[in-house]
C-alpha cells in the first residue's frame, strides 16, 4: 500500500513537473511576442451575464487557451446557500452554463460542477438553479456533502492548513475554473475567488479555528491552481453577506472579472466593490499572505489588463 502510494505520488509529481515546465515555456514565449500577448486580467461591464462572459473570455484569448482537447474540467461556482439567483448569494446559473458549454466546445472530455455547500446541499443545488443549468449545458453535477468525496492532500507552502481534505473532483481533474460571485462577508470581509476555495475543502471549520485569513491563503497554495478565475459581478451582495436577507442587499453591477492570477482578480474585484461600499484592501490580509508565497500579485498594474465597457 505504502509503495503504491509512493509510486502514485512520484508519478503525479513527474506529471505536474512536466506540465509546469511546459506552461512556463509558453508563458516565456508569450512575453516575447508583444502583439499577440493575451491579457492577464480582463474586466467587462454593462451587459447581461452571457454577453459579459463572451466578451471577457474573448479578451482572455478564448477558452482554448485554458482547456485542451480531451481534458477533464471542473467548474467550481459558489453554491453555498439555499437561495434563488436574484439574492446574489450564489454564482449566476447563466454564467455557469455558458462556461460549461464553452469548455465542452473547447474539447473538454467532461465538465464537473460541485460545491461544498453551507445550507443543506440539495436545496442549494436546486434553488440556486445551478444544478439544472449545469446539467442542461452538459456538465456532470458532483456530490460534495459527505466526507467520502474528499481526500487528503499536502500543502507544502501552507502556514496553518498543511493537510486538508479536498474534493476528489479537483484532485482528479486536469484543469479547473474557479467561478465565485462577488460578495461582502461578515467574517472574511470579502468573498471572491480565494474564499471560494473553502468549497473544495471538507473541514470548513478548520479554517475558522486556525486563523481564517491565513487558511484561505493556505488553501490557494494547492499545487493544482485554477487555470482561470471568473468573478461573477452581475449581481453583487454589498451587505449582510455572504448569505444575505433580502434583495435589498443586492446591487445590480453588471460586471465580470477574469484572470489567471487569483490574487490580482480579487484585488481588482475588491476595488470595484469599494465603489459601492468602502472596503480597504487592508481588511483582506489573505491577499498579501498569498502574494508572499507567490500565488499571485496584488499589483494589478504589473499585469496586462483589458477594461471593456459594453
Amino acid at each position: 500500500m505504502k509503495r503504491r502510494d509512493f509510486l502514485r505520488t512520484a508519478l503525479a509529481g513527474a506529471v505536474a513537473g512536466a506540465v509546469k515546465i511546459e506552461g512556463s515555456t509558453i508563458l516565456a514565449a508569450d512575453k516575447g511576442a508583444s502583439t499577440e500577448t493575451p491579457n492577464d486580467l480582463v474586466a467587462v461591464m454593462g451587459g447581461e451575464p452571457a454577453e459579459l462572459y463572451k466578451k471577457g473570455i474573448e479578451a482572455m484569448g478564448g477558452m482554448k487557451r485554458f482547456v485542451k482537447k480531451g481534458q477533464k474540467v471542473v467548474v467550481k461556482p459558489n453554491i453555498g446557500w439555499d437561495k434563488t439567483p436574484e439574492y446574489a448569494a450564489n454564482t449566476n446559473p447563466v454564467l455557469v452554463s455558458e462556461i460549461v458549454k464553452d469548455c465542452l466546445a473547447a474539447g473538454a472530455s467532461e465538465v464537473v460542477v460541485f460545491d461544498h455547500t453551507c445550507d443543506e446541499w440539495e436545496g442549494c443545488y436546486k434553488n440556486s438553479g445551478i444544478a439544472e443549468a449545469a446539467e442542461k449545458a452538459g456538465a456532470k453535477v458532483a456530490f460534495a456533502h459527505d466526507e467520502k468525496y474528499y481526500r487528503e492532500v499536502e500543502l507544502p507552502l501552507a502556514v496553518k492548513m498543511k493537510n486538508p481534505k479536498i474534493h476528489e473532483a479537483i484532485i482528479d481533474c486536469d484543469v479547473w475554473i474557479n467561478v465565485p460571485i462577488l460578495k461582502n462577508h461578515g467574517g472574511a470581509k470579502m468573498t471572491i475567488s480565494m474564499k471560494n476555495y473553502m468549497g473544495i475543502v471538507w473541514d470548513r471549520g478548520y479554517l475558522h479555528r486556525h486563523n481564517l485569513q491565513q487558511c484561505i491563503a493556505d488553501a490557494t497554495t494547492y499545487e493544482k491552481r485554477p487555470v482561470l478565475n471568473i468573478v461573477d459581478a452581475y449581481r453583487i451582495m454589498t451587505q449582510n453577506g455572504p448569505k444575505g436577507k433580502t434583495t435589498d442587499d443586492v446591487q445590480l453591477a453588471k460586471a465580470i472579472f477574469m484572470s489567471t492570477d487569483i490574487v490580482a482578480v480579487d484585488t481588482a474585484a475588491t476595488k470595484f466593490f469599494s465603489q459601492y461600499r468602502e472596503m480597504s484592501l487592508d481588511n483582506l490580509p489573505y491577499l498579501s499572505m498569498a502574494q508572499n508565497v507567490k500565488v499571485g500579485t496584488m499589483d494589478i498594474d504589473s499585469l496586462k489588463v483589458a477594461r471593456i465597457k459594453l
Binding site: 439555499d82 453551507c118 486563523n211 470595484f272 459601492y276 487592508d282 481588511n283
Partner: protein, 507 residues
C-alpha cells in the same frame, strides 16, 4: 364476488403497507405528498378531529358500523405487517401446523387494556398512548429498524454508482427508541408468527374498540347454518381464531374482515348478512342484545374520550419548564406536543436536514420518543416547513414558510469566552454567515481595526441553529436554548440601501 373482494383486500393492504414503509424511510422524502397517507389512520384522525381529521374519522366509524373491522385488514399497516409475518411463518410450518384453531377471547384483558389506554389518552394526552398506538408504533419500527437497512443498501449502491446515487449519513438512531421499536416489533412478530392476529385481538386498543363497535355493524360475516357441512375449512384459515365450530358463530369483535373464510368455503356458506335478519331467525335474541349494549358502551366511551380531549386542548404551557431539546416548529409548546403527539416519527423521517430525532430525556422521563431537534449534524432550513406539514395529528401545526420564519423555537446565547475572535484574535464570523435573520451581526473591535466579533439580538433569533451548528469551536460559542413554549421573533431589520449606478472599474 368474495374472491374479488378478497383480492381487493390483499391489493389495498399491499399498497398501504408499501406506502407506509416508503414514508417512514428516507425514500419518502423524495415522493411528494406521500405523508398524506398518515392522515388516513384511526388515531391521528381521532386526535386531529377538530383540526381536519373529522372526515377521515367519521369515514372509519361508518365503515366499521357497516361491515366491521375492515380498517384492521385494509388500512392498518401494523395489522397488514402481521398478516405478512403469518404468511411467511406458514411457509416454515407443516400442513397441519398451518391450521388455525378456534380460541376463546381474552375479554377481560383486551377490555382492560382498551379502557386503560383510551382513559390515559383522555386524561394524560397522547404522550403515553404513543407507546401502544398501532400506527405510531409501526412508524417507530420502520424508522428505527428498516430505515437503517435502506440506508445501508443505498450506500452500497452509491459505491457501485457513485455518479448517480449519493452517500447518506446514518439515520436518527436513539438507543432508547431503537430498543423500544425492536422490542415492540419482536412482540408483534412472535405473536403473529404463532397466532395470527392475536396481538390485534388482545392488546391493540384500536382493535378492541373497533371490535366492540362492530357488534352493531349493519352487516356481519356469518355462517349459513343450512349450508354448513362442518368441514372446518373456515376455522382453519381464520387468523383471528374467531370462528367457533361448536356454535357456528363468528365473533365479529375479533373478526378483521380478511375474507379468507369466505373464499375457502366450498358451499359458499360464509357471507355478509344483515344483522337484523339474524336477529329475526335466532331463537334466542339475548346475545344480540348484549352485543348492542357493549357496542353502545364503546361508542359512548369514544365520545367521552373526545370530549375530554376537547376540554383539555386549551391548556397553556409553562414557559419556565427546562427542556434540553428543541420542539420542532409548529409544536407550539411542550404541553401541546404532549397532548397531541403519538410519536409516529413522520416528522423525524421527513426532515430533509435530519435534525429531528426521538426524545429520550430531553423532555423529561414522561415524554419519551416525542420529536426533538438537535443541531449536531445540520440546522433548520430557513426555506423549509416540511415537519409541520407532515404531522397527521396536528401535534405540529401546519405552518407556511413565511409563518415558520417568525416562530421562535429557541433563543441564541452567545458565550464570548468560547468565541474564536476573542480567544485567538483572528477572523471567524461563521455564525454571522449562517444567520438568516441577522440576529447575529459583526461589530468592529475598538482598538483592533479590521477585527470583527459577533453580537446577538436574541429577540430576533428564531432558533434555527445555523450558528450553533457551524460554530467551529468546542465548546460552542453560540448555543440555542430551547423554549418550552414557542415565541414569536421580532421581524428582521430592514436594511434598505440606495441602488447605485457605477460607471467605472475602480482600478
Amino acid at each position: 364476488m368474495y374472491k374479488t373482494l378478497r383480492w381487493i383486500r390483499v391489493g389495498v393492504a399491499l399498497v398501504t403497507l408499501l406506502l407506509f414503509i416508503l414514508a417512514f424511510t428516507f425514500v419518502g422524502r423524495s415522493i411528494a405528498g406521500i405523508y398524506t397517507i398518515t392522515r388516513f389512520q384511526f388515531i391521528p384522525a381521532l386526535i386531529s378531529f377538530l383540526s381536519g381529521g373529522a372526515f377521515v374519522f367519521i369515514f372509519f366509524l361508518i365503515l366499521t358500523l357497516l361491515f366491521g373491522r375492515v380498517y384492521c385488514s385494509f388500512f392498518c399497516p401494523l395489522g397488514i405487517m402481521q398478516d405478512g409475518v403469518s404468511k411467511v411463518a406458514s411457509w416454515f410450518k407443516s400442513k397441519k401446523g398451518r391450521r388455525y384453531k378456534y380460541a376463546k377471547p381474552h375479554t377481560a384483558l383486551r377490555v382492560s387494556v382498551c379502557i386503560l389506554s383510551f382513559g390515559v389518552l383522555a386524561i394524560f394526552g397522547a404522550r403515553y398512548f404513543a407507546w401502544i398506538d398501532p400506527y405510531s408504533n409501526f412508524g417507530k419500527i420502520v424508522t428505527q429498524l428498516v430505515d437503517p437497512l435502506f440506508i445501508g443498501v443505498n450506500n452500497l449502491l452509491s459505491n457501485l454508482f457513485p455518479a448517480s446515487v449519493f452517500h447518506r449519513g446514518p439515520s436518527a438512531l436513539v438507543w432508547g427508541s431503537f430498543a423500544f421499536g425492536a422490542a415492540f416489533c419482536l412482540l408483534v412478530v412472535v405473536m403473529s408468527a404463532f397466532r395470527g392476529r392475536l396481538y390485534c385481538n388482545t392488546i391493540c386498543p384500536v382493535g378492541t374498540l373497533l371490535g366492540y363497535i362492530s357488534k352493531i355493524s349493519l352487516f356481519k360475516l356469518a355462517i349459513d347454518k343450512k349450508e354448513c357441512i362442518k368441514c372446518n375449512a373456515c376455522v382453519n384459515v381464520c387468523k383471528s381464531q374467531c370462528i367457533d365450530p361448536s356454535t357456528g358463530e363468528v365473533d365479529e369483535s375479533r373478526c378483521v374482515v380478511c375474507l379468507n373464510c369466505t373464499t375457502v368455503c366450498k358451499k359458499h356458506g360464509l357471507k355478509f348478512v344483515r344483522r337484523a335478519k339474524i336477529g329475526e331467525d335466532a331463537e334466542n335474541k339475548e346475545p344480540l342484545m348484549k352485543g348492542r349494549r357493549e357496542a353502545i358502551g364503546a361508542v359512548a366511551g369514544l365520545g367521552a374520550v373526545m370530549v375530554a380531549r376537547g376540554l383539555q386542548s386549551n391548556k397553556a404551557g409553562d414557559p419556565e419548564r427546562e427542556i434540553s431539546g428543541i420542539i420542532p416548529p409548529g409544536g407550539v409548546s411542550l404541553e401541546h406536543l404532549k397532548a397531541n403527539c403519538t410519536a409516529c416519527q413522520a416528522c423525524v423521517e421527513a426532515c430533509p436536514n435530519r435534525i429531528i430525532s426521538p426524545a429520550f430525556g430531553e423532555y423529561g422521563v414522561h415524554n419519551l420518543m416525542l420529536p426533538t431537534i438537535h443541531y449536531k449534524r445540520q440546522f433548520c432550513g430557513f426555506n423549509c416547513n416540511v415537519c409541520s406539514n407532515v404531522c397527521p395529528n396536528g401535534a405540529l401545526k401546519p405552518l407556511t414558510v413565511e409563518a415558520k420564519r417568525k416562530v421562535q423555537v429557541g433563543r441564541v446565547e452567545f458565550i464570548a469566552k468560547n468565541c474564536i475572535v476573542f480567544k485567538h484574535k483572528t477572523d471567524c464570523g461563521a455564525c454571522d454567515e449562517h444567520c438568516p435573520t441577522k440576529a447575529i451581526t459583526m461589530k468592529e473591535w475598538k482598538g483592533k481595526p479590521g477585527l470583527y466579533f459577533p453580537t446577538v439580538n436574541p429577540d430576533m433569533c428564531i432558533g434555527c441553529g445555523g450558528c450553533e451548528y457551524v460554530c467551529p469551536e468546542s465548546p460552542k460559542a453560540m448555543v440555542v436554548r430551547p423554549l418550552a413554549v414557542h415565541g414569536e421573533a421580532i421581524p428582521p431589520k430592514q436594511d434598505k440601501q440606495e441602488k447605485k449606478v457605477v460607471d467605472d472599474f475602480g482600478f
